[in-house]
């Protein structure tokens, strides 16, 4: 889907600063933060993630609202999380 999903940055990859470990609804995965190179996110900040890339930074309140919205969508969101779970970006 064209939607971004919110995720919390847990840590930046020590060897590859373009990658960050994020927590999306309990699923922890590496994603690429290269699109935010002008103002990279730090651990604890929230980002909008789309197909393995962070598109923009968002605040925690917006992240919570986005999550509630996505959970309301049901199947499409579950499919997205399942796909993220199957992702092994390195």
């Amino acid at each position: 889907m064209c939607l971004g999903i919110p995720g919390e940055v847990v840590e930046i990859h020590p060897e590859q600063p373009d990658l960050a470990k994020v927590n999306v609804s309990g699923v922890k995965r590496l994603i690429n933060i290269g699109l935010l190179s002008d103002d990279p996110p730090k651990p604890g900040e929230w980002v909008l993630i789309h197909v393995g890339f962070a598109l923009s930074k968002i605040d925690e309140a917006e992240a919570a609202a986005a999550m509630a919205f996505l959970e309301g969508i049901g199947q499409a969101y579950e499919d997205e999380i399942a796909a993220l779970r199957g992702s092994l970006i390195e």
């Binding site: 064209c2 699109l35 598109l55 605040d59 499919d79 992702s87």
Partner: protein, 379 residues
């Protein structure tokens, strides 16, 4: 606690709806188009049209990048996938899109090596792990997704990978909106602008709509109150004779968009002179292809594709639904021959399609309204 939140939201929704209704000129009707699959979901799920006065109708436009891929292009992709040296990789929502010979899902079931990926970066990993095979990534999506394909290509380029390529079907939202504005079928009063596409392209690309067509645009968030507020902002503009671009979703969408993303797209891709859109026909400068510099990663240059135009099935009215001329339930095969389990066209296959959204929510709303009527009638 959630119940209280919902109740408060309903109060605010009613208050906004009243303000909207107060701005309606007697005897005038209003039509606003939204192009974003996420907005369609919110509208149908919360029955937002029920909050609005009869004078206002909401129309869903061509915001589903999967839905607008013509059958011929799906056939081209299937042709690539059927090559024994190719591993085709694709997002999940492409898997069930019907071409003239079935879908990726059908081909996979028959033994073709097609793998679902979450990200183009997963596709890159498959290429690294399979140096003796050619890995093709089926790149679809609007400008929300194009930066990810671009960044992946740049990464492949810097790694010197020689077995990764992209079958580029990225489309751009602005020409589609312009085609709708130029079409005599539809008279629109304004637009509810897409949410996440705008985080990439920003708000400036919509300026031509206000300047040249004198229609207001409000870029909206995804909550029901966001959409109602955006409609209120549209009505305010109309009632004061303004036509401007406004950003109701400024907490997420930057006015200038994401410059890094736009640069990555610009570096790796360029606009095609024209591209065929399901339902809208050929639109000039509406889709992206891989630039000459990255030709070694362009699946269309590396392999030959049939490039045959395939007409949609006769029963399919996706074209009119995508243009907003027909509502999903007005399509002759909606819910009967065409359902999510047995889709005829992409509006039903894709979770972003108007038909899939209505099928999942619209009928629930009708039941909810019926129940409310019954409840109200009880002594």
């Amino acid at each position: 606690m959630r119940f209280v939140d919902e109740f408060r939201d309903a109060d605010k929704a009613h208050a906004l709806a009243a303000k909207i209704a107060a701005l309606c000129e007697p005897g005038r009707s209003y039509k606003f188009m939204e192009v974003c699959g996420g907005h369609t979901h919110t509208i149908y799920k919360h029955g937002l049209e029920d909050y609005l006065p009869e004078a206002i109708t909401l129309v869903h436009g061509p915001g589903c990048p999967v839905c607008v891929i013509p059958m011929g292009r799906v056939d081209d992709a299937m042709h690539l996938a059927s090559r024994p040296d190719v591993i085709m990789t694709s997002f999940g929502d492409m898997m069930r899109v019907p071409g003239s010979q079935g879908s990726f899902f059908d081909a996979k079931a028959a033994g073709t090596d097609i793998r679902m990926v979450y990200s183009p970066l997963d596709s890159l990993k498959i290429a690294r792990q399979n140096p003796d095979r050619q890995v093709v990534f089926m790149a679809i999506g609007f400008e929300t997704t194009a930066p990810s394909t671009a960044m992946t290509m740049l990464r492949a380029f810097s790694e010197g990978l020689t077995n990764f390529s992209v079958f580029c079907n990225h489309v751009t939202i602005i020409p589609a909106i312009k085609a709708i504005l130029d079409s005599p079928d539809l008279r629109l009063d304004g637009f509810i602008g897409p949410g996440h596409v705008s985080t990439v392209i920003g708000c400036r690309p919509y300026e031509f709509i206000a300047r040249d067509y004198r229609k207001p645009v409000v870029v909206a968030g995804f909550e029901p109150l966001d959409i109602l507020q955006s409609i209120y902002m549209l009505m305010l503009q109309l009632s004061s004779g303004r036509s401007e671009i406004e950003n109701q979703y400024s907490r997420v969408v930057p006015w200038d968009g994401n410059v890094v993303a736009l640069k990555a797209i610009g570096e790796t891709m360029e606009l095609r002179p024209y591209f065929e859109w399901r339902g809208l026909g050929f639109i000039s400068h509406s889709a992206l292809r891989v630039r000459e510099k990255y030709a070694a990663m362009d699946a269309e240059r590396l392999f030959s594709v049939p490039g045959v135009r395939v007409a949609d099935p006769k029963a399919c009215q996706c074209g009119e639904v995508l243009k907003g001329v027909l509502k999903p339930w007005e399509c002759k095969v909606f819910g009967t021959a065409c359902t999510p389990e047995t889709p005829i066209g992409t509006c039903m296959v894709s979770p972003e399609g108007a038909c899939a959204a209505y099928y999942n929510y619209g009928r629930m709303n009708r039941n909810r309204v019926a129940e409310a009527v019954v409840q109200a009638a009880r002594p």
